[in-house]
Amino acid sequence: MTELLSISNLHVSFPTYEGTFNAVRGISLSLSTGSVLALVGESGSGKTVTALSIMRLVPPPGLITSGEIVFEGQHLLNIPEVSLRSIRGRRISMVFQEPMTSLNPVLRIADQLCEPLILHLGLSRSDAQEQGIKLLTNVGIPSADDRMRDYPHQLSGGMRQRVMIAMALACRPSLLVADEPTTALDVTIQAQILELLDSQRRASGLSILLITHDLGIVAERADHTAVMYAGQVVESAPTATLLSTPRHPYTQALLASLPQYAEPGKPLPTLPGQLNIRTASAGGCSFAERCPIATFECRTETQYLREIRPLHIIRCWKCS
């Protein structure tokens, strides 16, 4: 498999009144054609900022301070804004968590769905309309030609997310960035949407960067998984390996705290405290203050990623 996207040593920071806030601190990821890479972590761990960086959409005043993103051989961080436009929505597209706020409420579905077709593929209005109906049918929307005339508020959450996916896939991109695509949906609808993404991947060799906090989804859909904590990848491995033999204390704790693996009625193993990004990025291992096996050295020594077996890397010097 060829490498489609590679991110190396990405740093993103946001200036705030209380000093610079480093949302992403040296992320490196790689995604090959036709595979699904999952990015897992709690809120504030930098998942979304990483995803937005790929298309250089980090909201100001956020700034990509260093790093390199290579997509299909192009260095995305160096090319001019104009050439980026032919990539956004065309080669790389995105599906967001909230399907209500990411569709324009005053435009009909047809207008929003046809825009990328006309803009990127140069279709005529009527061809785009026809193609749009096909796209909606493909994502499982019944009576698609009627839905084309609807406004977003007339559709349910699941239908809106299908429309978002249809829009994202309109120009046959090679990379789909899906940021919590099913978090706002019910499990039955979630299963439909995930199945839909998977069928698109099988049909057109689409690669997916899947951002989620649901380890169940990861187990089911991702080939490779990277766990993020406080703006860094702390562990990354093929999904099956990661779930069966997690090595980083944070990954272990996350998995242990899931109710599906616990005996009913018994207290769940938990991590003390919560992610505090300011103290976490102060120095030493970012997880040290919540880590059950942390020692004095962990609080002072910076942790580096190292490979403990092929494809399995962790950021913890204590695990062998």
């Binding site: 709690e42 809120s43 019944p142 349910s156 959450g157 699941g158 239908m159 019910d186 499990v187 039955t188 609808i189 979630q190 299963a191 439909q192 995930l194 199945e195 906090h213 649901d214 380890l215 169940g216 989804i217 990861v218 187990a219 089911e220 859909r221 704790a253 996350l254 705290s257 899931l258 109710p259 599906q260 616990a262 009913p264 009625g265 207290p267 769940l268 193993p269 938990t270 991590l271 919560q274 992610l275």
Partner: protein, 324 residues
């Protein structure tokens, strides 16, 4: 002998009037013929997709909403027949925790004031209040210095602790929690679940937990009720539901939980389409338009709840032929 139900509901019905521009007002059926009971010390889970009436049910059970028809009984007496004094007692003994820890706390009240308000109303002397406040706060894992801060200084997990503390301050018998952990991160979720489990023991609470997350309910509940479009389709102990459910909707819900079936080859049951609108409930069994087993009788006749095993009941015409 079965323990006496502390709170029960008989044939609850609730409809809301919905007015849309361009339409005459229509009735949305939120609850239809819902009956349930909670024994002392039991934890009951309510599950279902959004819009199935879970939250409405929780509010009616807590006495915050009046049903259109049907009755809620507290210790055998209908709520509507309680005297003023008894009603106050019921309200104090039945506390609720809400889903959104952001909008359920008064942003202008310090945490200490929010939590001790029930104590004040209960007429506890000021001196004792302080001690009780500290005891409750440490029970839910809030540090002492949190007392004088405002809600906006806390994260979601901390606020949910405050919400639990506030509910416990009234020393309730019944705790009704509406999606208590669904807005929280996984590691925080586990912390809150543990607090709920601990509080149940410490305060010998009877709990009703509304959640769309069946795995969480399986972990903390003695019994789970599955709702679909405003009525109960199945009810039973979690171990049994996950092993041998008796309703195709429960089967589909469980099959949709990601990550439970990684080893098995393909998912068999995938529900097609969305939940139908509660404005026009399908005739007969309300699940029939999405049910892959539906036959003629399902379209015309509303199935009754049938008890198959002790405490395990389902409302499906075909349950016997499908699940033996």
């Amino acid at each position: 002998m079965k323990p006496h139900p502390i709170i029960s509901a008989v044939d609850l019905q609730k409809k809301f009037k919905v007015t849309t521009r361009g339409h005459s007002s229509r009735l949305l059926t939120a609850l239809d013929r819902v009956s349930l009971h909670l024994s002392t010390g039991e934890t009951l889970g309510i599950a279902g997709e959004s819009g199935c009436g879970k939250s409405t049910l929780a509010k009616i059970m807590a006495g915050l909403l009046m049903p259109d028809a049907g009755k809620v009984h507290y210790n055998g007496t209908p709520l509507s027949q309680l005297s003023q004094h008894e009603k106050t007692f019921f309200r104090r003994k039945t506390q609720m925790i809400f889903q959104d820890p952001f909008s359920s706390l008064n942003p202008r009240m310090r945490i200490a004031d929010s939590i001790s308000e029930p104590l004040k109303i209960a007429g506890m002397p000021a001196l004792l209040q302080q001690a009780e406040l500290e005891r409750i706060m440490s029970a839910v894992g809030l540090s002492k210095d949190a007392a004088n801060r405002f809600p906006d200084e806390f994260s979601g997990g901390q606020r949910q602790r405050i919400g639990i503390a506030r509910a416990l301050a009234a020393s309730p018998e019944i705790l009704i929690a509406d999606e208590p952990v669904s807005s929280l991160d996984i590691s925080i979720q586990a912390q809150i679940i543990n607090i709920l489990l601990q509080m149940k023991i410490d305060y010998s609470l009877t709990m009703m937990i509304v959640s769309h997350n069946l795995l969480i309910l399986r972990h903390i509940c003695d019994r789970i009720i599955i709702m679909y479009l405003g009525s109960i389709v199945e009810c039973g102990p979690p171990a049994e539901l996950f092993k041998v459910c008796r309703h195709p909707y429960t089967e589909a819900l469980i099959a949709s939980i990601p990550g439970l079936h990684t080893s098995t080859a393909v998912k068999i049951v995938l529900l097609q389409d969305d939940l139908p609108s509660a404005l026009s409930i399908p005739s007969g069994c309300r699940f029939h338009p999405r049910c892959r087993h539906a036959i003629d009788i399902c379209r015309h006749e509303i199935p009754d709840m049938v008890e198959y095993a002790d405490g395990h009941a389902a409302a499906c015409h075909l349950s016997n032929s499908l699940y033996g």
